[in-house]
Each structure stands twice: as structure tokens, then as C-alpha cells.
Symmetry: C2
Subunit: 279 residues, 2 copies
């Protein structure tokens, strides 16, 4: 039987996940109030049904999927709860287990069932690209929505916030090591040793020149999205009595690039200068 | 013409560099006073000539090579200066440009010529394994000592402390990313998501399982040596107005493993527990 799924919100990732649910016969609704024109276009492209207001969405949905920036996850949950939502609430955001606990408490206060989620991979547009990890008592009901779709789902049995923990651990390497390479390329330029470092890397670390080039050129478009996630990752380590400093430093670096969000193809040196000059 | 080179001290790295200089016809002396039996054996194996005391070494040497833990570099320089050394002084330690400046000032006060160095690679026992980077006005005189030996040398033209800066930038990735992987494996075990993380890594980050396993098992024997270097790297970034937090966190993690220096083959879980339980 098709379910009605309220999607908050159809960003690049969210819209692909809405499309995956639609492909399995579910009705996917969203709320355009206050969203950007880009979001409207994406939702239209994926044939998601616009019910305009968040309140209508919440009151019409069997299941609410929260896919938003980490810093918005808790507030979104409290808003959904304020409309008396008592269905299944999936938070699939890049948040720490501690933040996930707060989200769970907020939606449970209205009678909803919390499911913990974490997404690894790019927007789900190809077979095998993207995995949704799930934890919690109703995880299987969410997994069933996507059976046979482009979004693979996996249920974790190791705790009710295990999907958030997994997402944090996974992204802590990808985005943390990328930030470390930003830092190193900036240092090399600042110290006048870039050529020597690249020559040494070619001998002993042959993957790093190309990887770091790609990171420098690719970061301006997405750094603004990463700062909240870096805070959540730092919190995750600190909650486990491990040092959060790697990701506090990563947050600082991504923050120095945030203003380049809409810059048109900044050059390598423009990015590095933004890192160094943001003193 | 062969020179007399005073080697401070014949650790695993230093002894190999002494052997490289000897292989080119130079006389390499060292001072056994206060050094360990292991150091005596290494120096004997490499046929280095023991003059017993540091003062005799300094007064007999044309050139002094300082190859010691980063935290000892400045004090060693002041001691050498206190004996009135006015030859060539190479500091090849893993120190920040700021610390290198202090070392340079100390040895120059006695009339010595400071050469900045940085070593990349393992002890120089095979062709092509190990590179000595050099900077400063007399860099070519040091490079000439090793011409055709197992130690390759490269002169950097981009500033008198460029070799230290290069060493810091290079090690900031190798030892910093290794520490990040220690942190992540510890988090995964603490959060009960190790199996899920490794399964995801096998799909999307296939090098990380093996690399992180090797780092966990290999770190106890050397973590104690890395703490001073992590401080120097953090200082290097901070002096360039870049975040030092990655390496402050790395220092914390390596510090938690320092007591395992002489542990016999600690298991994976024993290492992780040392990281987690050192709260």
C-alpha cells in the first residue's frame, strides 16, 4: 500500500530521495512556503506534490522525512511536533547522536515514532551510489519504502542513534581529511614551499597532489554547507571523550570559504588566499 | 677533503645519516656520555667514532649535525653554542620555522653558521628512500657531504627556514591523517558501529580499513616520539594564521598511547582502549 510521505525538504539530496520513494508507489508531498525557486524546480522535476504549507504537510503525512542542514534539524523537529505529528519521523541529517537524541525527544513529545537515519553518498540518481542507514524500532518500515529503489537502505542494530554515529564517523574522514589538505596547501603557499612539497608528494604520496587540487577547487561551492556538520562531528568525538579538535579546525577552514558559495569558478590561488587572509 | 662531522645523536635516523657521511670519506664522531646502550650499539654498527663527551665533540668538529627529538633541539643548540662552536650547524629536526629561528639565533650567538634541514623518509639504508632538504646560505656545503651517498639532498631557495617548513607540511599529512584515523577507529568502537563503518568503507573508501588497521597496530611503538612534533606542526600552522587544531588533537591522541612505548605487540582493542579510556 502506498504511504503519504512528507519530505522536508527537496534539496539536491532530499529531492532524489523523494523520487526514490515515488518510484515505489508512494505519494511524496512537500511544502513550498519559504523555499527557494531552485527547490521548486527540483521538486517539480521529481514530480513531488506541493501542499504549500508545512502544517498541511504534517497533518497529511504518514511519515515525515527530515533532510536538511544539520543546524536546522532540531528546530524542524520541534515545528513538526508543534503540529501534533504522531506518525513515523525519520531524521536523516548529518547530526551527532547527542543532537539526534534531542530531535527524538522533540518528536516523541507529540507522539511520533523517531527513526534515526544517516545518508552516505551523493544524491541517489544511480544504482549503488547512495546508502541510507537506519536505526530504531521502526527502521524496517522506513527501509520498506525504498525497497528496490535507487536508494539502498541498511538497518543497524547497535543502538537507537547508530545511524547518526555512523554518518559522523564516515564524514569525519571524508570532510576532515579534505580540510586537512586545504590547511596544508594553504600553509605551503604561505611558506613559499609549494613546489617542493608537491615534488616530495610526487615521490612518496602520489595521490595527494591531485586530491588536494580537487579539494581546493571544489570546496568553495560547498564549504558553507559543511560548517554545521563539522560542529556536529566535533561534538560526536567529544561526547565519546575523544578530541574534537580536528573538526573544530575543519569548521574554521570551511567557514573561511563560506563567502565563496556563489563565486564563479574561483581560481586555486583565490581559494588559498581566502583561507590565509581570513585572519 | 674529508671533514669531521659531529653527530648529535646516533638514533635510528641519525646513525644512518652518519653512515651516509662516512661512506663519502668523512670522519663522523659522536659522544656516548649519557646515551643508551642501544645508541652505543647502533653507532658501533655504523663505525662511528666515539669521543665520549659533547664538549670534545663540539671542539673537534667542522660541522655539527643535530638530529634529535623536536623538544630537545633548542637545548642542544644552546649547549653546543656554550662550547663556542663556530663551524656549520645543521638542524635537521622536525621543528617549526619559529623554533628553527630560535635554534639559529642560539648557534649564531657563538659564531656558528646555521643551516636549516628537514628529513623525509625512513632511516637512509636504501637508495631513494630518504631525502634531506636544506636551506640557508651554506646549504650547498652540507649537500656536498652526502653527494653520491644513500641520503639524497635537495636545496630549497625559498627562505632560510624553508626546510623546516617543508618537513612540517609533509608530516602534517602523514602523521595528522594517521591520528585522524586513530580517532575514527576509536569512535567507531566506542559507538558500536565498527562493523558498519568498515562495511561502508569497503564500498566507498577501500584503502581505509587496511591503512587504519596498520596505524592502530603500528602507533604504540612510535606515538611517544610524535607528541613534540605535533606541537611543532600546530605552531607552524598557527604562525601562518591557519588552524592548529588538527595537530593539537593529534598530539592528544599520540599522548594517550605514549605509555605503550615498550608494550609487546598490543592488540588492536588494547590500543583503542588506551585511546578511549585515557579520559
Amino acid at each position: 500500500m502506498g504511504k503519504t510521505i512528507g519530505l522536508l525538504h527537496p534539496g539536491a539530496m532530499g529531492s532524489s530521495i523523494g523520487a526514490a520513494a515515488r518510484s515505489r508507489g508512494h505519494r511524496v508531498i512537500w511544502a513550498s512556503e519559504g523555499r527557494s525557486r531552485q527547490t521548486v524546480e527540483r521538486a517539480d522535476d521529481d514530480d513531488l506534490h506541493d501542499v504549500t504549507s508545512l502544517e498541511v504537510l504534517v497533518r497529511s503525512s504518514d511519515i515525515v522525512l527530515s533532510i536538511c542542514p544539520p543546524g536546522a534539524a532540531f528546530e524542524l523537529a520541534t515545528t513538526v511536533a508543534s503540529f501534533g505529528f504522531d506518525g513515523l519521523y525519520l531524521d536523516a541529517n548529518a547530526i551527532s547522536p547527542l543532537t539526534a537524541q534531542r530531535v527524538a525527544a522533540a518528536v516523541r513529545s507529540a507522539g511520533a515514532t523517531y527513526i534515526d537515519g544517516g545518508i552516505v553518498g551523493p544524491p541517489a540518481r544511480e544504482v549503488g551510489s547512495t546508502r541510507l542507514y537506519l536505526a530504531g524500532e521502526a527502521a524496517a518500515e522506513i527501509a520498506a519504502l525504498f525497497n528496490g529503489s535507487l536508494l539502498e537502505s541498511f538497518i543497524l542494530e547497535s543502538g537507537e542513534f547508530a545511524a547518526s554515529a555512523l554518518k559522523m564517523a564516515y564524514a569525519s574522514w571524508t570532510k576532515g581529511s579534505a580540510a586537512l589538505l586545504l590547511n596544508i596547501r594553504a600553509l605551503a603557499l604561505a611558506e613559499g614551499i609549494e613546489d617542493a612539497l608537491l615534488a616530495e608528494w610526487r615521490i612518496s604520496q602520489p595521490a595527494l597532489e591531485e586530491r588536494s587540487n580537487q579539494i581546493v577547487l571544489g570546496s568553495p561551492a560547498k564549504a558553507w554547507r559543511f560548517t554545521g556538520e563539522m560542529n556536529e562531528i566535533a561534538l560526536t568525538f567529544e561526547s565519546a571523550d575523544l578530541p574534537g579538535g580536528f573538526h573544530r579546525a575543519a569548521r574554521e577552514l570551511y567557514g573561511r570559504l563560506s563567502h565563496l558559495k556563489d563565486a564563479e569558478d574561483p581560481t586555486f590561488n583565490e581559494v588559498i588566499e581566502a583561507l590565509i587572509e581570513a585572519r
